[in-house]
Every structure is written in structure tokens, then in C-alpha cells.
Symmetry: D2
Subunit: 337 residues, 4 copies
């Protein structure tokens, strides 16, 4: 940690800051520059990170040097983490395709979608039973009834299941019905939910918040790993920017950046990242080209009748064509589907 002092800091102020650092068991190294002094802090940065050193008179700026995350970092674990769930491995050579409707609507529709996404190449069925909706007047999901439908369809068709959990009280329940619990963008910093999921030790897909930096995203994953659950799949799903033509802006830079910073697998949700079905295929190809380990795609047999997010859903024909195009790109980057 580096403490930059103001040009006019007094000796007493400087001494007070140095004494504070020493009182925490750390050493200092003072550099008297031409224009101002700098105090280097030597030792375990964690001990001092939470101190409001900027509140001390004479301090201009405090610059942390080390990353705040540990367990999720590539330094902690240099090799890639592969998450194995039944016969599916996420993070390995094979790209994982997750497809399905935004919300589970009924048994027949989900079953029809499931057969189609499996045929196209998907190994995981997505579908929401508890839906976080901006408006209280929007469809909030079928709840437990939806989870039961999901389980029945996945057992029948032979797919893994993924569904969103939005309440710490539901974590145990979810574990009975789905293979992968999803934490949505709005809950990326719902820390009690993260802790419960960490304790549940079940595979989890953590979506990046629309307002979260890459480092905050990794810190949220750290909450889950810190409880002993290393089965975490990260998901970039677009961030909020000033651009309004698309629903969100896919942060494609984040894919290789996270591969550098962390050992965890990362997949991309092209549906929320664009909000427009006709952009889903090209950005899916981009995601795989950039190094993503999989895709989470909204698919519906009749997007125009979907109760939620129809605008960004692929129909089953387009989904099949998309997987085909993505497969060619996967091969070009030494992966497969």
C-alpha cells in the first residue's frame, strides 16, 4: 500500500500516520520526493486495507497495491478449474451450451423446448421459476411448481438444469430440484444469499451485476469460495452503459481479463447482453472466440408468445443454426461442442 501525502503536510501529521501503520504491525518506508512525500507500507496489506487512512490530516491519496481477492485468483490456483456436474464438465475443452426459456411456463412448452435444445447440442436446460422483475405487476414465475416441472423435464430428456435463486430462504429447496443454482445480476451483491450458497456446496452460476466492475465480480465469487464452495461458474451478461440501442453492453474484454485474473470458468449470456435476438448469434461466436467456456442462451418455441424476454429469445431453428456456427468458431480456437 502506498500513502501519498499532500504537499504541505506537517511533520506531526506525517508522524501520526506512520505511528498508525506501525501500530498495526506493518513497516513503513518513506520516500521524500521533490514535490511531496510518499509512505510505502510493507507487510500484509490485508491488515491495513480497511483502515480509513485517507481520513488522516495530510493524506492526499491511498493506493492499494495488491488485489483484494485470494481464493478466486489465478495466483492462488494457476491451473483452470473445471466444474464437473454429472457427465458435464464446465471449463474444459468442450464448450457448454445452456439453453431454454427465460421463465418456466408449463410442462408442455418446457418439454418441447428441452427436446429441441438438446437436439441442437445443449447439455443444460435453463428456465426461471423465481423471476426478479423490475415491476411488481410483471409475471413473477411459477415458484416451486416451476421447479418440479423443470426436474421432470430434465429427467425425461436427459439434460442438466439451471434455475435462479433469489432468496436465501430458498437455497435448500433449490438444491432438491436443480443441478446448478443461478445468482442473477441483481443479486450479485446479495451477500447473505452468496453465503448460503457457499454453505450449500452446490454448483452455482454467478452472473456479473450490471453495475459491477470485474474486481467486484470476483469479490462476490470470493464470498462463495470463502464458505468452502469452489463449484463456481462466472457469467458475463452485459453491463449497463450509455448505449440504448442494445439492452446492455457485452463486456467482451472481461472474458480474457477474467481468464488472466482467475482460475474459474466463465461463460457468456448473449441474450441479456444484447436484448435483441438478431444479435445473439454473432456475439455468441465472439464470446467463444474470446475464450469463453460456454453460453447461456434464451430459447423458446414461440418467442412472440413467451411470457418474458421474448424479444431476445431465439426460436429453436435459429438456436440450432447458432450452435452450428458457434461450433465452427470453437474448432478454430481448439475447443469443441
Amino acid at each position: 500500500m502506498i500513502i501519498v501525502l499532500k504537499a504541505n503536510t506537517t511533520k506531526e501529521e506525517k508522524k501520526r500516520i506512520i505511528d498508525k501503520v506501525h501500530s498495526l504491525g506493518l513497516k513503513t518506508m518513506v520516500s521524500e520526493g521533490v514535490e511531496r512525500s510518499i509512505i510505502g507500507v510493507i507487510g500484509e496489506e490485508d491488515k491495513i486495507r480497511l483502515q480509513p487512512l485517507e481520513a488522516f490530516p495530510g493524506v492526499e491519496q491511498v493506493i492499494p497495491v495488491l488485489s483484494p481477492f485470494k481464493l478466486v485468483s489465478r495466483e492462488f490456483k494457476p491451473e483452470n478449474s473445471n466444474i464437473k456436474i454429472k457427465d458435464v464438465t464446465i471449463g474444459g475443452e468442450t464448450i457448454v451450451i445452456m439453453g431454454g426459456p427465460c421463465a418456466i411456463e408449463n410442462l408442455e412448452t418446457l418439454r418441447e423446448i428441452a427436446y429441441n435444445v438438446k437436439k441442437a447440442g445443449a447439455t443444460v436446460l435453463r428456465g426461471g421459476a423465481f423471476k426478479p422483475r423490475t415491476s411488481p405487476y410483471s409475471f413473477q414465475g411459477l415458484g416451486v411448481e416451476g421447479l418440479k416441472i423443470m426436474k421432470q423435464v430434465c429427467d425425461e430428456v436427459g439434460l442438466l438444469s439451471i434455475s435462479e435463486v433469489i432468496d436465501p430462504r430458498d437455497v435448500e429447496l433449490m438444491a432438491d430440484y436443480v443441478d446448478i443454482m443461478q445468482v442473477g445480476a441483481r443479486n450479485m451483491q446479495n451477500f447473505n444469499l452468496l453465503k448460503e450458497i457457499g454453505k450449500a456446496k452446490r454448483p452455482v452460476l454467478l452472473k456479473r451485476g450490471m453495475m459491477a466492475t470485474i474486481k467486484e465480480f470476483l469479490m462476490s465469487a470470493e464470498y462463495i469460495l470463502n464458505e468452502g464452495n469452489f463449484n463456481v461458474i462466472l457469467c458475463e451478461r452485459g453491463i449497463r452503459t450509455f448505449e440504448t440501442y442494445t439492452r446492455n453492453t457485452l463486456d467482451i474484454n472481461a472474458v480474457p481479463a477474467i481468464k488472466i485474473l482467475s482460475h474459474l470458468p466463465i461463460i457468456v449470456d448473449p441474450s441479456h447482453a444484447t436484448g435483441k435476438w438478431d444479435l445473439v448469434t454473432p456475439v455468441s461466436k465472439a464470446a467463444i472466440a474470446a475464450g469463453a467456456d460456454g453460453l447461456l442462451v434464451e430459447v423458446h418455441v414461440h418467442p412472440e408468445e413467451a411470457v418474458s424476454d421474448g424479444t431476445q429469445s431465439l426460436n429453436t431453428e435459429n438456436f440450432e443454426a447458432m450452435v452450428k456456427e458457434v461450433r465452427a468458431v470453437a474448432v478454430a480456437v481448439q475447443r469443441k461442442i
Copy 2:
């Protein structure tokens, strides 16, 4: 609702869309323009808002015309809502000042802060017992122990209390200890938490999410009102932008904008909105000049020793001076403290 068709939409496509609208019990009015056709939808927009009309072939754009919120809107209730809690009224002529530490640390410190903020003009003591922190390694708050300290101090000193709730399981508990429950920025779209608070019928301060639009902010308030709880105080606390000099960017436009759109009172948190204690006083004056109904300010007896957010906390002398300066501005806009 307006449905704009593409230039090359076929008759069949157009008919299919119109039939869909009619099937929902709404009427249409088609305008054949020079370059493309537009379908105006007449009737209750709510019936059709959730339909993914953009997924229909031939549709270029769907433009909602009405605001999606009802109960929070100025149209629903033209006069200002005043929230009365014991002898304090929020939203009336008197500006409410809420001051206190980021986190409750111990009885003695909180008591000393409480006496000081009361002397300076505050009527509400703030202090967190459950802290949502970016890092799992940061101080997470004293929990229930903190709430007990808060209650004891407020009873003794004669202040209302406000503290953050982060888990739907804690709502009932909080109601026993604090006068106003705070929903933090990270939980603005934790909809199950909003619903629980709505059912609790207790006063709540709802903070705007750091990347929530004004309309999304009001929709979250709508969740609470929709459960029958109209005791909602809104709080603008800065949004996330590209600017890094400050922690957040105070959206001062939002204060008069919300006064136009809604009947609910709105206060400003200048501490989080700036992240720098030396900006707190000028932006507090700005907030009141723009029409805010109050301020929520971080205050500590020794900011440099605070366990959280010391960098943006005022010490008690600066807080007292701040209230004095704000009072002069309040008077200039026909308010008082």
C-alpha cells in the same frame, strides 16, 4: 403503446400483430406513413406491456407510452406525502437531518456521536448493524448486538433510529429495534426483501441503486407501496459513472425530477454520493437548494479510526458547521431545520 413496423413488413405479418393486440382486448389504430406503418394500441396498456411484441416478424420497435408505475406517481396522489414517525415529519417544511456512523462500533462511541449529532440539529441517528461489504474479509457489522446498542442510545439521547436491513429474514427483528428500516443501494432490486418490508408496514428509506434509472428506482418503491406500505422515503445516494475522482456521482437532477414524478419524500446521502468528506458540505447545500427533504450524513467522532467509510465521514465539528450552512440555504428556499 406504439408499434412501429419495418419498411418491408408484409400484410400477413401486420395482420398477425393486429390480431394479437385484439386478442388481448385492446383496440388498434393503424397509420400508414410514407415510409412505414405505425400501429397505435388503445386501451389499458398494462394488458399488453409484458407481451414480447418485438419478437413478432415485421416489428421494428415497440414504444410504451405510459409510465409503468402507479401508486408512487404524482398522478395517483397529487399532493406531497409526509411520513410521520413519532414527532418527526419527513417531507414537510422542516428538513430532516440524519447523522451517524457508517457502522455501529460500540456503545460509548455511538453515544458520543449521538449526543453530538443531536446538538448539531439532527433528529435521526444512522448506524449499520448488518453491513453489506464488497469483500468477505471486511467487517460485517455487529448484528443484533448493534441493534440493541442503537436502541439504547436512541432512547437515552432522544433520537429516531435508522439502520439497514439486508435479508428478508431480518425484517421482523429490525422492526423491534429501529424506527426506520433502510434498504441499501445494492438491495434496491432485492424484490423479496422489498415485499417483506412492504408487509411490515414500517417506515422505510429506500436507496437508489448505483446503476438504477429514476424509473427503476420508482418501480422498486412501487413494490413496497403495492403491499400496502406507503411510509416510503426515497434516497438519492449517487450513481456510478465513468468519473473516478469521486466515489459516485450525485444525480442532483433526480431530486426535482422525482418531485415531479412522485409524491414521496426524497432525501440525499452526500457521503456516499461523493466519497470525500471535504465535498459533503457543498453538495449538502446543493441538495437542499434543489428541493431535497433531508440529508443522511456519515458522522464519526474520530473518522480516522472508524471501522468503515472514514474517508467520507465528517467529524462532529464539521458536521455542526455543515448543518449551520445548510440551514441558511434551507431558509432561502422556504424550508427550515
Copy 3:
């Protein structure tokens, strides 16, 4: 254009608005809704677009229906535009690779870079002679001397040249030395510069401003086409967001979006879009997978000695490896290098 009226608009106010529209030679169609009235404007939207209709009492919102750009639009010209410069075609089957240093430093260095980028597969050499720099104390480029070096090297090595123009007074001069004039992100809305370039009828690469929407970007291209110059290559180079890990956020969505909206070719600058050389290769592959027509990459023989932007420059070995990887992706999407 749709004019939405307020709930309480009077008959006189409504009449005044309708009269205004009629006075401009347009027709109206009024829809009396349950909650408010809507006026549809029929006719050439251009005639009314610039009227401040929202300033009329009683108007709540004015919603334009048509895109404001014409000549750049896919509707105006359904097939892709190919820009032919000497023996290079941009926008066709072949992906164009532009490589070179941020700034032209001296003859020897540029020559060495040029031979290397050509060997790797580039057909265009980039290099700045006039540098727009945030600080007046930063290196501002070699000016005309740099252009002469550029011309000499390109003639010798057999590459096209691209260099940035930052002043309308320099357009004529630039045309003598370079094949493609570049308009940088900071000048995307330097409209007089755009007009001069439009008149010059020379090939131009227009970079998206770091905070320009896709539509504003296309409107700036429209300025050039409107002067009769259709030789415009668009370039996505990252937008500014809240994320600070990377220098900018590559808006990968914009690539297919622009392909839908416009007939102009679009290339990607992965160097500025990331600001980190170790992210350049993966996002370059993503750009081509998403449908981009080329890449503009910073390359230097000794990035750590570059006078500008060394942090984001590839060295020549990495550039060669990058082109190789990109070529495999290009083939996977039916393109070639």
C-alpha cells in the same frame, strides 16, 4: 413521430399543437386513449424533427419513429459497401489487417515495423503524425515530417498508409501523403473536419467517439457521405464505461448492430478498446467472429520504448501470432486474411 400529451392537457393546448403540425405541411391522427391522448404525425418526419414540440404546454413526450440517418443506412443501400483502395478492398470477403505504431517516431523504426507487419499479413500501415494528446506536455507527433516518413516507408515496403487528421486545415495536405485519413474518437463530432473530409472525397476511417451512441456514430458518418464521399470505413474502438480494469470497453454488440443498420464496412481497434496488450489477441478473434471487416492494431518493435501507447502495443512476434490465430477464426466465419 408520436406526440404524447399530458393527462390534463386542455383542448386549447391540443389544438395549438395540432395547428403547429399542420402548418408544417404534415397530417395528424389523434388517438384518445383511456388515460391520455396521443397525436400521430403523418408525413415526412424530417420536416418536424427539429421543432421543439416538447416546449409546447401540454406535451409530455415526443417520440421520433424513423432513424435520423439516410445515406449510411442499410435501407438506402441494402448491399454491403466495399471500399477499394489500390489493390485492397475493405468490406469484402478478405479481412483487412492494419498494423503499426501509435506514433511515427523515425524512419528506421517505422521501416522495421512495416516490414514485420507486412510479413505477418497486414496490408495497411498505421502511424500517427499529428497526435491528439490529453496533456499539452505529451509528445504531439512529428507532423509533416512524420507524413513524409510514412509515405517513403509505404512506397518502399508496399503497404497502404493510414494516419490521423485532427485539423480541417490539414485535410488537403494529408491527401498528398496518406491513402486513408483517420478521424479519431475525440474528433468524431468535429463537424467541420468531417465536412472537409467529405469534400476531399478520399477514403476515411471514422472512429467512434468514446461516449457516442451507435446512432450518433452513424450520424457523423452521414456528414461525410452527405458531402458526396462514400469511402467511409467505420471503426469501433471501445467506449467509456465505469470499468477501470481496461482502458475502454469494446462494444462488441456494435459490430453486428452496425451491420444491420448500415451498409458501411466496420473494423475494430482492439488496442484502444482494451488498453492492455495481453487482451488484444482474444478480442481481435472476437471481433472477426462477430463480423468485423478488419482490425487496426498497435504494433511496435520495442513496445517498452514506444513514445506513445506502448502498454497496449503488440511486439512483432505477438502480432504475427495474433494474425495467425485470427486467420483461423476468419476461416470459421467464411472470411479469409
Copy 4:
């Protein structure tokens, strides 16, 4: 400057970096931390700021310690700068009010507006003759004819004039007609324009770019001061964010932040910062309460007939009422109008 090395940096890599720093005439101080080494650079940071040290193998991060601007900084000149133009002083006790139309339309309209804004309390008349417009099909201003009208009206009514310059070729011309040259948000980084204005030594109002950080804003001012022109007035006019309810987001934090960082006066443009006339008065009061030295407001006799920006213009009655309300706030913060 602080150079943070990677955990696994070799001795040779470290030596190479240190040698580089020494070769520039600077000293180093190496701190061997528990997890990684840090190199402190001692001496004039300017000598090394432009070196791409991050391109050296082994470097993780380079952290500049000093501000990059000099002449504009409060450290360079501790007391406030007052800009005196004829009998008006900007930056002193008196708040300066600048009012007028977006664009100069004709003599009669401008004259009528001028008389009204003067009566209300303004001392400077604003009005654009050269208009930077997003669309080439929008009204581009009257050009020199407009400047002549501006000069005639200001002479007649007794007001200073301000008008925007968008082309370095026009700087000399503008100086003949207007008292204050305005550099608009889109040209904040049109560095050749800034240099020409610097050389002209005439008063200039520099608007913050919609995508510019506070530091970049001050760096652009530095370009003008660096040419010997200290008559610079800064203007905060709103930044671009994700919020769409308002045209821009007024960064009210920037007002006191700039007062801390710089000695230059700063005024606020509430019209562009909100884009809605009914928000102009409250945010104008906020700006003055936060410490702004003046306001730049769009005023028109008939906003609904204005050729540009009518939606955000006050009519003359509302402008007069606004100045009255602002005056009360000014007095509350020991200023006057």
C-alpha cells in the same frame, strides 16, 4: 511514480526496469514486500510519465502519484482567479448570469431576448452563430451574420457576449465580434482549437466534454493556459450516464471538486445538464449552493418556436423568476447577483 512488479518477476527484468528509470535521470527506491516488489521513482515525475513502463516484462501496474496538470492547479496559484471583462468580474463575490437563445435566429428575436435577460439580472448574452449539430440536416447557425447581430444587440442593450467557436480557422474572426469565446463540450479535446484560443489571449469559456473526467477537463484548460492565456472560465454542463430521463447528468460534485483542484472560476449550464426546462430552476439553485460562480442558461421569448433546444429553454418570465430564486440562495452562501 510507483511501479508494482508481478509476483514472479525475475532479477533481470527488475534490473532492466531500474536501469530505464535511471537512464532518464531519476532515482529509484525498491521495496521488497512479502508478496511482490515495488519500485518508487524519485525525481521529476514528468520525465517518466510518458514512458510505457507497463510494456516492460515483469511490470504489473504503474501508478502515477502527482497530478498531471500544473498551471490550472490550486497548488500553482492558491488564490481564486477572477476573470475581468469590461465591467464584469467572473469568479468574485458576484454570481454572473449568462442567458440567451441556443442559436441566434434574427435581430428582432435576439434583441427582445437581450432586453429581457438584462432586466432579469443577466450581464452576458449567449447565442450560437456556429452550431455543432449531431445531424448534418439540422440548422447549422447563421455564421458571421449571426455574430454581427450579436455584436449589434450587445452594444445596444449593454451586455457582454458569449458565442461558440468550433473551428480553429474562426478564432481570429470571433475575437472581433464577441467578448467571450465558448468551446463546446464536443470540442473540449480539439487541441488545435484550444491552442489557437490560447494564443488569442481572449476570455474563453471551456465546457466539460460529456465523456471527460474532471482531470481531463483540467488538462484541456491547461492547453489554453500553457499558451499564455489565463482568462479561462470552466463550465460544468452535465456528463453522459446511463440515465435517460434527463439529457445529461449534472455532475454537481465537480463544482466543489474543481474549487479544490483549481483556481479557475467554474460556472454551470443547467439547460444542457438537464435537457428539461422544468428542472432548470432547481438545479440552478443547487449549482450556486455548491459554490458555482455563475450560470449559463438558455432563454427564449418563445421556446416552442426556437430553432434549437426549445425543450430545455426557459421563457423570459420563468427566467426572471429563476434569477430571483437563485439570488436568495446566493445570499445564503455569501454571494450576490
